[in-house]
Symmetry: C2
């Protein structure tokens, strides 16, 4: 008679892509994942998630996430990378971190800072409401190329889907509202939320109604969710809203909100996005 | 017969407060200035300006300002401080910097990152308009305490001035629109613009209609202005708009715009702001 042990559950591809192995004090090794590959490097959200994980999972970390800034310095090559995360200052109720991701001897591929803090129960006020949206199940799925990372998310535009066939001579609205789910589904945690903060396509391709060279160069995320909010959200899709104020000399801004399925604001994200538009040169 | 030489022009107090003296490769010494003192440390905008200056005025700096993130780790004591600024990555058209301000052997008082880039003439689009406002000269000056830094600026609220006598049981709007001028006047440059990005009072005191303990803990500024835009602005006041999306467990967000006197968006600023509200504990 032989005993059959239950198979260990397959880890989610996101957890594979953001796994970090300790290599020294404050230093970890990761490996890029084809499942989240973009055209010339990994999906930036996974880079942000790795930097968040290094600080968040560090034994010295105190408090809950408040802010994360990631500067995308260079495209990662496929293979191993190193992450260093160190507390820069620990106060009574806040803790500041600095992080850096590097590869080979080519220097920094991303720099980052993070802030964690005590989140006491006190005055709360939520003047902004979530955008109106039909349920996820009733919103058609946006067709994606099947390219690595875009296939790891389920994009369902309520408003402002890319319009590849529209009149490019007139700027389209910069604003989008969309549901985003993980494929396969995955319970939301702060590392996954950091990735979702970079989920939006650069506003330039919406406004110009065509694919153009673009990339986030700097992203700042503010976290408003508690661990209980994330547990209540579970593995359901989030509702995102993104917009831009200005496209100027090769960079545009982007501000975005990530709402829970129950209409709670989980995070806000602000980006500087690089773009080049050969037809727009003047 | 004696010759009288013309007196050297007195430096502007802002330039005194942000003066940095080189002390080593990539390292400078500054000194806090009573003219920009706040209650328990310098006005955060001057801290941001010193960090911006260290990178912006560095001989290795290439390109124009795109993004600046400053994390305020601890209040500075009066006296000397050190700033270190190093390029983390220099690409063909972008350059990433990391900066840190420290004092004595107490560790970091502020951490920062900055991004500079080539700003080519290409497709431009400005979907957001400046808020309507009467001229600066026709807007009454907001009375300030005469406390250091608040006396260095001329605040003229068009909308959403602090209402210290209102009904605190109902949250007031988080939004403000105001003119801000330097006292004395000073031509705008990128270092001065970095300071203006932190000029807004924490939204919590507007919403709660009372003074409460608060402080910016992380600020990210995106720069949309060219050197020509700043020259055209000269020493005129800027028009600011600030708002918040959420006040949650001791931190609120803030997004703000800085408009030129001619209605051009010079910079946007996004903050995480710490607050404590003894009457709001639950």
């Amino acid at each position: 008679m032989t005993q059959t042990l239950p198979a260990a559950p397959e880890p989610h591809p996101f957890d594979v892509a953001t796994a970090l192995e300790p290599i020294a004090d404050d230093a970890w090794r990761g490996r890029t994942s084809d499942a989240y590959w973009n055209m010339v490097g990994p999906f930036g959200g996974v880079v942000a998630a790795c930097l968040m994980r290094a600080a968040h999972d560090h034994p010295l970390r105190r408090g809950e996430p408040v802010a994360l800034t990631v500067n995308f310095c260079a495209a990662l090559a496929k293979g191993e990378f190193a992450v260093v995360a160190r507390p820069a200052r620990t106060n009574r109720s806040t803790q500041h971190w600095t992080m850096e991701m590097s590869q080979g001897d080519g220097g920094a591929v991303a720099t980052a800072t993070a802030l964690f803090g005590a989140r006491p129960a006190t005055f709360a006020h939520r003047p902004v409401a979530p955008p109106p949206a039909p349920p996820f199940e009733e919103t058609p799925r946006f067709p994606v190329s099947g390219l690595g990372w875009t296939d790891r998310y389920d994009f369902r535009f309520v408003e402002g889907a890319p319009d590849w066939n529209g009149d490019a001579s007139v700027p389209a609205p910069a604003r989008s509202v969309l549901w985003v789910g993980n494929r396969p589904i995955r319970p939301l945690d702060f590392v996954g939320l950091a990735a979702l903060c970079d989920i939006f396509f650069g506003r330039i391709v919406h406004v110009r109604r065509r694919m153009l060279p673009f990339g986030t160069v700097s992203m700042t995320a503010f976290f408003h969710a508690s661990a209980e909010d994330l547990a209540a959200q579970g593995d359901r899709p989030v509702l995102g809203r993104a917009d831009a104020r200005v496209f100027e000399r090769g960079f545009h801004d982007q501000s975005a909100e990530i709402w829970s399925a129950d209409g709670r604001l989980l995070a806000t994200s602000h980006q500087a996005v690089y773009y080049r538009d050969p037809d727009g040169d003047r």
